[in-house]
Symmetry: D2
Subunit: 337 residues, 4 copies
């Protein structure tokens, strides 16, 4: 049960609502976000919401049978729109493009990539400065200094930044330099990290876990939302299966299912989803066609020299061509509605 | 190694080639198909194909490092085209449409479905008369009588038939009434069935196994081809994973990968691939966009009354709308090349 | 619902029972096995079995909520015992041992293996004469002649034979030479084969599908049982997962679960379950300890020269040692009850 | 390549070794643990270790082809033994027992559990005070206060504590009250947490990831070891597969494989591995039989009243009976060597 309270509710009104819910067998968690205050009720009893609805201070009440509540479309049918400023938005009915290298490597690489993005009309740049690596001996990224350098150029060019945050202590140091915090596939159920990102007033994109279910992805989003942050994006990036001909199995089924279950925007990552450069464009276009609100892909001036993920990274010519195709496919999709 | 021999090769010439290959450590299997005769050499030794190439009677020799040989694009770069007669073709650069009910149920249903297919321009009708069912107590299809009834109407309307064959003994009795034998996902590795389908001069569509790999699907096709039948179609229909929000996980990665590895046409089945009616169109369009040569989907006049698979079956209005969208998406895809 | 009828029931009594069940919304399938006659009722209505129980000719009625009926322990709590003659039994509370090569190769190999089995007290010999192979160019076994040769030696030595049947047409030709028909992991859902094995009065061991669920394995057994054959054995042999350090993932969880759900004996195959020779003994012992009624493993005089599966095959010394350990572990397990 | 240096190596000697390795194309990471100092070389060039071995200050050099180095048995054949003090050890050739509730709930529960452990001879108590939960609204554990309370009683009774640490900031506050930090299945690839646990001089038990490979588990252990902490334990707790009849699929294959690849002790968790109370004992015994160095299981005075995981938790009578059986099975296993 979600009780959205009025902005001007008094403490005593709120206490009365909580008390009544408790008496009906519901445990209440209070959630304050950038936009509103909610009382989330968890309980199993049958509940007469009309009676509770008579209490003062309530704007709206919904019964939500899903295990996740605030991210469910059963509560909020209107799609969530994320505004990154300067006219950059991620939202239903639009096609957000995010591209860039796997890892931020050098200043020259940053500059070249930004030039490419500007030329093709991509507004959001991806890149890793903290890299989760299976082996402790592999390159782990340039860290906060790399991010600051990147930010300087991106800011000047009007390009937004999406980059992975790996642990709680990085949230604050990264804050001034990121537009979207990315939660990586290995951290989708790092609940402390999700809790803390709930306390930040900045967009968060959560990648589906390496073998995470659709339900778990929504529950992870619920962590951030219930922590107080409504600016959430979901990302399908492929799951682990027995098939070894591709790096992961891009589960595009997840796109219409997530769009149906949740009001949050859904982005598709074809680079990790198939892991083979020459097939990334086809999978990006498939993602557009089945309903994605955005595409995130890896591009690099010289993919074969990239520090990481070169095998799934497009060069700039391929990237330019793909962006045009994505736009055409998106226009066609819009005509279908 | 694939040695394609000349049509007019003499027995003694052939013997000499085989002998020389044997001496080089290669075991030879002779394959005669509708189109040609091949000597397939399996062995591990390094092989100087130039020396063998000097033998008379040889048209072409290729080293194929894949475990499958005749279905590999390394041998035959030109895409295979399946001609079903009356101008109906399944081939690269075209978009074959196959639709119809899960099960053939009644004459009225057959007639209504054919009317719908004619009206929307779908040339191939799907439907099951032998149904593989997990439970021995479930409806198992109308059998050969259902097929004959169906054939009578389809023939008259110029509609081609694709339907599942479950065992060797059915091949002959079905022969006069089918245009494409379908091998179901539970029979992808029923090697005896594949062997026998190799002896038939009719198209065969092999569905990927319930948890079959891409490699295994190609090996299964190799069985039919090496049995003598080149008229082969591959079908991606979703795989079994841990995810339970969809019936199967439609692995669209398989489409560009299969197209890259093999010269055979690839069809996508979004109905089984996601298993949820309202999302079938999105997945069909995604399939088109990532390179499928055809789409097969379930449609029924009244899906909720269907004997089986109603939950993933489109009604005729949805089907009509989808076909139009598929055609538009296919036109767009063609413009991308 | 399972209605076990009396041996001397009259046709009119049976008709009356069926009629009444039909009226209550239940579809009846009549099943005649070696031991009894059953009327299997499938339906969703609530059913007052007491009222039906008043009909004459009925021995016993059980409501079985599982999708499988006759193989369920909810109907028949007493474990099934398979008697192969000459004192060889597969049953709860006993430890059946089956061993032998992957493939039957030569007469010498047969003789040597039988000597080894006799020396270690193993009463059932495994071996393939029809081999399902992913590639059409691989060795497919010696066929029926190999089986006859094998039978000749096994019969003389008092050794029972378990071997794979791949298709319906082989059932009859193999009949005189096998003691247990094995249904392989790729044929677990070959429903025609299961149907036909239901008509045979000989034991059938069904291997779990390559990625088959426990439920599906029981449904496959239900096919054979409902065809008329109660002499059934279930076999856990590992499932397909993402893990590549082993050939399959031996799912020993399946052992106590199958024993709990069904009255059929359960055999574990550690050779395919892990696929690595040096670890087969540990997995065999684990299988004994979690409740298996039998162990089937691969052994060969010279595993490295075996035509197939050498990497997971024990030599005779390893086999001798393992059998002793299995017996000790089984004695310990019995002491736990 | 692992270069173990002498305790009294001089800085200039070390520099010379690093320089020479660099010149041969190897990047060196220096690792200092509680026991020794290692130089880990990562590179692809062929390397003549004899030449490097002539340098002064080197105790031992090993080429390790695995991606993990320090946890590999190729480097260190001697099994690692973890000494928790007071005679409590986890090591090859021994059987460590860890038991307790899923969550620490109340003082009474702590006291009762400790009494039970003392009575049955279990020396290590498990229990969660920080609980990773899919839903943000679920019980998340008593936190540090619960741990302190628990420690007080455990210390007095001579019982050791193993409990999950979820984030870096908890490491220090938990330090005085834990004997083994547990890394949960959702944090197996939380690399920052692993890095920090490498800096602690206390045992760490790493659970295999929800769908983690055996290779990834070893890589995660390598993180901790290369951070400086050799006191490592690996835990198999079941993996995610398509099978839904059990909570997870306990992958006992992992036990002999991990024991073969690594010198670290391996513990099996049958409670999470199957997730069904009545089958936990069988799976525990199977784990013992295939080579585990320890068993961790959930027990509670009244499982049906437990805050979490009650369905897989043994009551004290079941626990007592199981411990006796584990000991018998372990004695039998020892007799096999």
């Amino acid at each position: 049960m979600i009780i959205q309270v009025k902005p001007d509710i008094s403490d005593s009104q709120k206490d009365r609502i909580i008390q009544e819910a408790n008496q009906s067998g519901y445990k209440i968690t209070e959630v304050k976000t950038q936009l509103s205050t909610y009382l989330i009720g968890i309980g199993k009893a049958n509940f007469d919401i009309r009676k509770l609805g008579l209490q003062e201070g309530i704007q709206d009440i919904h019964i939500v049978s899903d295990d996740y509540k605030l991210v469910s479309k059963k509560w909020k049918a209107k799609p969530t729109s994320i505004d990154l400023g300067d006219g950059v938005r991620i939202k239903d009915g639009d096609m957000a493009l995010m591209a860039g290298p796997c890892s931020i490597e050098t200043e020259e690489q940053i500059v070249k990539t930004i030039e490419h993005l500007k030329a093709t009309g991509i507004q959001i740049m991806r890149g890793g400065v903290y890299k989760p690596r299976s082996s402790p001996y592999a390159f782990r990224g340039l860290g906060i200094d790399g991010l600051k350098l990147w930010y300087q150029h991106a800011k000047a060019a009007g390009i937004k930044i999406v980059t992975e945050v790996m642990q709680v202590s990085q949230i604050e140091e990264m804050y001034d330099y990121v537009d979207i915090y990315q939660v990586g596939a290995r951290n989708t159920q790092n609940f402390n990290l999700l809790d803390e990102l709930g306390r930040v007033d900045k967009a968060v994109m959560i990648k589906r876990g390496i073998s995470g279910t659709i339900e778990e992805l929504l529950q992870s989003a619920e962590y951030v939302f219930s922590g107080g942050n409504e600016k959430l994006i979901l990302c399908e990036r492929g799951i682990r299966t027995y098939e070894k001909a591709s790096r992961n199995t891009l589960d595009l089924n997840a796109v219409p299912i997530l769009k149906h279950k949740s009001h949050l925007p859904v982005v598709v990552d074809p680079s990790h989803g198939i892991g083979i450069r020459q097939f990334v464009p086809q999978m990006a276009l498939a993602g557009v066609m089945c309903g994605a609100d955005g595409i995130i892909f890896e591009t690099h001036e010289t993919p074969d020299l990239a520090y990481s993920d070169g095998q799934q990274t497009l060069d700039f010519d391929q990237s330019t061509k793909l962006v045009k195709q994505i736009k055409d496919a998106f226009e066609l999709r819009k005509s279908f509605i």
